[in-house]
Every structure is written in structure tokens, then in C-alpha cells.
């Protein structure tokens, strides 16, 4: 039996999987496939792994530091064969073998390719009426995470008023995105709590469309935010941001429960930018000749039953390249994708 098993392993070692993108989906899939004794190579456009999660300070709903989490996913990252700062420039498939040449002229021949190119954070500049890039204290959820990691700019005030604006670039026909980004509500609640912890004298308001607290412990987090931290949740949509004479920010919202317009002055506005299909996914789709769905994410071959399989044989997809997901969902999706790759290579 041992001899047979070793032969199988030797056969498997000959089979290579190329993973495009070293975010948490790519890392998780890489580790799973390596554990199954495949030869895995990863190419990553940035010079670090971990993707967007690396740039986040803490996770929801458990306020876990992201760095140990990424290290836990990646295991011993030194063992991972990651080519940083590289993107595919050429791809072709012949007889079930993919030949990919990167922009650094690295030639990779792989039996299967897994796309884990993730998402882009919605560019809040596009909501011009919100004043991002115009007014200094209009920031995004990503900027706020950076402040948590690197320190807040000096404001000269102890008591600050924060307003979190949900659904920036999500569920927004004008922005061209009708879908929900899934993670923003819980992120806003988490960040609102962190702001109250950071500035105990602050007042925090969340202007939401609907509160979509669907995950395990999310509802409890929402309750804690209201009861323990006194965060105000206002069902409202923002129409515009302006600056007052004293440099504070003036927002105009419609309270959608009372159907009344409302004005409020704030010190900081945090825009909860949602997820958009990544530019990389679009170029990879073109390169490999696969389709995108109506929302611009990579199209899967069969919803529900083959969420990790593209329309092209041997080409797989994992994580937020197919649509918004939480960290938990992304990791599960990556494991599912690794299994799909394994089944495909085993049947070759």
C-alpha cells in the first residue's frame, strides 16, 4: 500500500497548479493544494500577500488581529512559491496544459489554474457629492483601518462626532452596482465600536439603508453597539456633504423612517466603500477567454453546484473574484475550490 501511495504522490507532484492572486483565498487554496501534494505556484501583483485583509486592522465580529490570522492561513509562508509583483501577460492552453507568461517573463506550465484575484474597494471619489478627496475629514472604511493601525491625525478635539455612511457604491444604481457588498454593515458596526473605544467621549452615528447582520454573532455585535457603546443607528440616505464655516462637515440626509430631510454637523464622515470586481479579474478573464457575469465578477459555470468552476476546463475560481464574501465565506470557498481542482486533476 505504501508503495502505491508513494507512486500516486509522485504522479501528483508532477501536476502543477497556478494560483493567480495571493489574497486569503489564494493563500488558503495554495495551502490546501500543497497539503494534497500538488506543486503550487502563486503569482501576486502586489509585493505582499494577504490582499485586502492585510490592510485591515481587526476582523468582525470578534475583533481579531488580521496579521496572525493571515499567518495562520498561510502556515509557513516561506514554503509558498509566490512570485510577487507579477501579473500574467500571456496565457494559452494546449492539451490541458496552461502556458502562462508573466510580465516579468516568467514561464509557468500548469495543469490547472485557479483565479483568486479578489475585489477592488469602491473608489469613493466616484460619489462626488460625498466630498471624498475634497473635504479633509471625509474618509473611507479603509482609511479608518489605517488610522487604527498607524494612529489618528491630531484633531485638537476630545469630543468628536463621527458619521458612518453605509452602502457607498453598493446597492446603488447610479454607481452601477445593484448588489450588496455583504461585509459593510458588520464592518461599520465594528468600526463604530472601535471609534468609541478610541475616543470615549465621541458621538457615533450610523446612517444605514438596511442593517444586514446575517452572520454568526453579528446581531449580538449590533446589539452591543447600541446598548454598551451608545451608537446611534439612523435609517437614512445621504444626499450631500458640505463644509461649515468652522470646517466641520455638514451632511444632508433623508431619514427614511420618517421621510424627512435632516441636517447634521459632524467632525468625521466614514464612507463604507463596498466591493467591486477587480480590474485584475477583468484582464484575467480576457486573457483566458472566460466570461464575466452581469456585475463584472467572474462567471461560474453552474451556480449552486459548481461555484468554483469556470466555463473553461481546468480553470477555477475562488473567493471574492466571483462576488462579495466575508472572510469566513472566502476561506470556505477557497477550500471548496481546492477540492474542485483536486477532483479535476485526479480525473485527468
Amino acid at each position: 500500500m505504501n508503495f502505491v501511495c508513494n507512486t500516486d504522490m509522485t504522479e501528483r507532484l508532477k501536476k502543477k497548479v497556478l494560483i493567480i492572486g495571493a489574497g486569503i483565498a489564494g493563500l488558503e487554496a495554495a495551502v490546501q493544494l500543497m497539503n494534497l501534494n500538488y506543486d503550487v505556484e502563486v503569482i501576486e501583483k502586489e509585493n505582499f500577500y494577504g490582499g485586502h485583509v492585510k490592510q485591515w486592522f481587526k476582523t468582525f465580529p470578534d475583533f481579531q488581529d488580521t496579521k496572525p490570522l493571515i499567518d495562520l492561513i498561510a502556515g509557513k509562508p516561506d514554503n509558498l512559491n509566490i512570485h510577487f509583483g507579477s501579473v500574467p501577460g500571456f496565457a494559452e492552453e494546449q492539451n490541458g496544459i496552461f502556458h502562462v507568461i508573466t510580465d516579468k517573463n516568467l514561464h509557468i506550465h500548469a495543469d490547472a489554474v485557479l483565479i483568486s484575484t479578489g475585489f477592488e474597494l469602491f473608489d469613493a471619489h466616484r460619489k462626488e457629492e460625498y466630498g471624498y478627496g475634497i473635504f479633509n475629514h471625509v474618509i473611507t472604511n479603509a482609511d479608518l483601518e489605517s488610522f487604527f493601525q498607524n494612529g489618528f491625525p491630531e484633531t485638537g478635539k476630545l469630543s468628536l462626532r463621527f458619521g458612518f455612511i453605509h452602502c457607498v457604491g453598493s446597492r446603488d444604481a447610479k454607481a452601477g452596482n445593484l448588489y450588496c457588498s455583504k461585509v459593510c454593515c458588520a464592518t461599520a458596526v465594528k468600526q463604530a465600536i472601535e471609534v468609541r473605544q478610541h475616543f470615549p467621549d465621541s458621538e457615533v452615528y450610523c446612517f444605514y439603508m438596511d442593517m444586514r447582520m446575517f452572520g454568526k454573532q453579528y446581531e449580538e455585535l449590533f446589539q452591543q453597539a447600541q446598548e454598551k457603546y451608545g451608537i446611534h443607528f439612523v435609517r437614512a440616505r445621504l444626499s450631500e456633504v458640505n463644509q461649515n464655516f468652522d470646517q466641520s462637515l455638514l451632511i444632508k440626509v433623508e431619514d427614511t423612517l420618517t421621510s424627512k430631510p435632516m441636517k447634521m454637523s459632524l467632525d468625521y464622515i466614514v464612507l463604507m466603500s463596498g466591493m467591486e470586481p477587480s480590474v485584475s479579474s477583468q484582464s484575467i478573464a480576457t486573457l483566458f477567454g472566460i466570461a464575466l457575469d452581469n456585475e463584472g465578477f467572474i462567471k461560474v459555470s453552474k451556480p449552486f453546484i459548481a461555484e468554483n468552476i469556470t466555463e473553461k476546463k481546468g480553470l477555477f475560481v475562488a473567493g471574492t473574484a466571483t462576488g462579495p464574501k466575508t472572510i469566513t465565506e472566502t476561506l470556505n470557498d477557497a477550500r471548496s475550490a481546492a477540492l474542485a481542482v483536486h477532483q479535476y486533476l485526479n480525473s485527468k
Binding site: 475634497i134 479633509n136 464655516f245
Partner: protein
């Protein structure tokens, strides 16, 4: 505030503005409210800058006010507009320049509608042919006169006799720029600088030495709002809206308001008088209020034109304090001269708002 952020937006919303050969369609209400403005636009283009502009005498209303007041159906409006285009085509011009902001917005909306729905354009072509025997070409460029002045602002500066600078302090005049709602709010790409941080008037103010005030209610309507004013019972909304703007701009101590719409300068001017009578409140320094000018009037002042030939005596809020700040040399006696005649009857002075 980050100017670079604004500049990025301005770069995004630049439109091509032809440099010559304009077909001008005057505005129904501007000719009555601000009779000097349209003539000044033509004078600047023809006499100062040597441009070709046709001052069309045969066009009609675009029906914009009626359309926005829900009393004229869109098909009728589009057929009327098709006739305006027909007149332009007949004259051999391709650059349509409607004086009125509402017309500009309406023409933009109609051209967009035809672009998206060619079958509607064909229907309107049929209507026009059946009713008048006319055909038309669509304009190659649809531009507002404020776009034209914006594009020529530095050429105007070269010929300027005055700057938007307070001669006593040497500091830039503080200017409120108010863009008419129909300029770019419906189609941001149609306006220089877009809808949220428009640059069309700000660019003129900055070029001519002034400084733009960015006040919180900058984006709000002037108060006209069509049905807010046209329906008499709604006029409280109109004046309340205008008052909100004045309250918002007051801390910045504006020296003037510049506008690019027929209705905006009217409401921003006349409601100052009404608010002063109703509440005893005057915005602006020394009890004279804040002068609200059209961009043509402002350009005319920068070029040193006689303020009374510009028609500035038609304003309720006296412009003389602004002229003094600019160091403008003018003869107060000319204010009531029309042609060779001196008008003997003078308007009564209000009780609260000071006038000169």
C-alpha cells in the same frame, strides 16, 4: 479642503467648446429681467474678441418653463426645439448656444433622449415636417454662453480694465458662484466641472482675480424652482429656500453673487428686498445687501463697460458698493439715462434695504 481633489473633478468634466461661429438663441425671461446681459455677451464676442455669432430673431420659446411646470407635453417641446435646430441649420451654423440655462438643460435632455431612442427622434422629425415642412440637423456642439465666456476668460482678462480685487485692501473679492440647476445637475458631463463642484463660474472668478466662497448651501436651488414660485401658494418655499442660502453664505461676507441662469439672479436679488421687509434682515455689509450679477454683467464690469449700459440699474440690490470696491470709475448721474433721455421718475426707496 483639498483643492487638488476639486481639480481632479474639474479635469474629469472638461467639455469641448468651439472657438467661433455661434448660433445664439436668446432667453424669454432674461431679455426682460437683465436686458443688458445678452447684448453684452454679443458685444464681448463680436467687438472684443472678433467672433462670429448669429443673433437669431426668428426663434420662439423653447417651452422649458411650461415643460418643467407640467403644462406642455414633451412631444410638443421636442418639436419646438426641432424647429430651433432647423433655423440653425438653415443659417449654416452648427454650434447652438442657448442663453437660458433651462433651455440648455432641455436641449441636452432632448438630444440625449434622441440618442438613446432614435425612434423618438424620427417621430419628432415627422411632426416637424408635417407641421412646418422643415427638416433639421442636430447641433455639432450644444454649449451654454457661460461655457463660451469660461473658455475665453483669459482673453477677457487680457483686455480687462478692472479686477475682482478690493482696491482698498488689495484682497480678492469674495464671490458666491451660483450655477443654475439645469446647467449640469441633470447631465454632469454637459457642464464644465460637473454638477457637484462646477468650475464654469468659479473659473471666471478666479481668472479675474476674485476668490470663490464654498459655503454649505452652495448646491441648493436659488429658490425659483419653477413650481415653488409659479404656483402662488408655494412661494413660501421659494423665499425660505433663498433665505437658507443667504444664512449659509453670510458668515463668509460675500462681496457679490455671480450666476449663469435667468431666474437665479432674479430671486437672489429680489428676495433680499422681500426678506428685509419681512424680517428686517439684510445680508451683506453696510445694509446694502449682496449684489447678484449675471456672468455677462461681471465680464462687462471687468472689461470696464458702463454699468448703466450693462443694465445694472435693473437690480434691486444696488451695485454701487461693489463698483467702489473694484475702484470702478462711473458716473452716478448716468443711472437713469436711457438713450438721450433722463428718466425723471425714480423708484421709491425701500424702508429697510439701503439703495443708492
Amino acid at each position: 479642503m483639498e483643492l487638488t481633489g476639486k481639480q481632479k473633478i474639474w479635469e474629469k468634466y472638461q467639455k469641448e467648446i468651439p472657438s467661433d461661429s455661434y448660433y445664439y438663441a436668446r432667453s424669454c425671461i432674461r431679455q426682460n429681467f437683465w436686458p443688458g446681459s445678452e447684448n453684452t455677451f454679443i458685444k464681448i464676442l463680436r467687438e472684443e474678441l472678433g467672433k462670429d455669432i448669429k443673433d437669431e430673431a426668428h426663434h420662439t420659446t423653447c417651452t422649458g418653463i411650461a415643460y418643467h411646470s407640467d403644462v406642455v407635453p414633451l412631444e410638443t417641446t421636442m418639436t419646438v426645439v426641432a424647429r430651433q435646430f432647423s433655423l440653425m441649420s438653415e443659417s449654416g451654423y452648427e454650434h447652438f448656444v442657448p442663453s437660458c440655462i433651462t433651455s440648455f438643460g432641455l436641449y441636452t435632455e432632448i438630444l440625449e433622449t434622441w440618442h438613446e431612442h432614435p425612434e423618438i427622434e424620427q417621430t419628432i422629425r415627422n411632426f416637424l415636417k408635417e407641421s412646418t415642412g422643415r427638416t433639421f440637423e442636430k447641433p455639432k456642439f450644444l454649449i451654454h454662453p457661460s461655457d463660451v465666456i469660461y473658455s475665453l476668460r483669459y482673453e477677457i482678462l487680457k483686455k480687462a480694465r478692472y479686477r475682482l480685487i478690493n482696491i482698498e485692501t488689495g484682497r480678492p473679492l469674495q464671490c458666491v458662484e451660483h450655477i443654475g440647476c439645469h446647467y449640469a445637475k441633470m447631465f454632469p458631463d454637459a457642464g464644465v466641472g460637473g454638477a457637484e463642484f462646477p468650475h464654469v463660474l468659479a473659473g471666471m472668478v478666479e481668472a479675474w482675480g476674485g476668490e470663490v466662497i464654498d459655503y454649505p448651501e452652495r448646491r441648493s436651488c436659488c429658490g425659483f424652482g419653477f413650481r415653488q414660485y409659479l404656483v402662488q401658494a408655494n412661494r413660501g418655499y421659494s423665499i425660505a429656500n433663498t433665505k437658507r442660502k443667504f444664512e449659509s453664505m453670510e458668515p463668509y461676507k460675500p462681496d457679490l453673487i455671480v450666476t449663469n441662469c435667468p431666474g437665479c439672479p432674479y430671486f437672489l436679488d429680489r428676495w433680499q428686498y422681500v426678506i428685509s421687509e419681512m424680517e428686517g434682515k439684510i445680508y451683506g455689509g453696510d445694509g446694502y445687501g449682496i449684489p447678484a450679477l449675471t456672468y455677462e454683467e461681471l465680464a462687462g464690469l471687468v472689461l470696464g463697460y458702463n454699468p448703466w449700459e450693462l443694465g445694472l440699474q435693473m437690480h434691486q440690490v444696488s451695485v454701487e458698493p461693489l463698483l467702489r470696491k473694484m475702484g470702478f470709475l462711473y458716473d452716478p448721474a448716468d443711472k437713469y439715462v436711457v438713450g438721450n433721455q433722463i428718466i425723471q421718475d425714480r423708484p421709491d426707496h425701500p424702508d429697510v434695504l439701503k439703495v443708492l
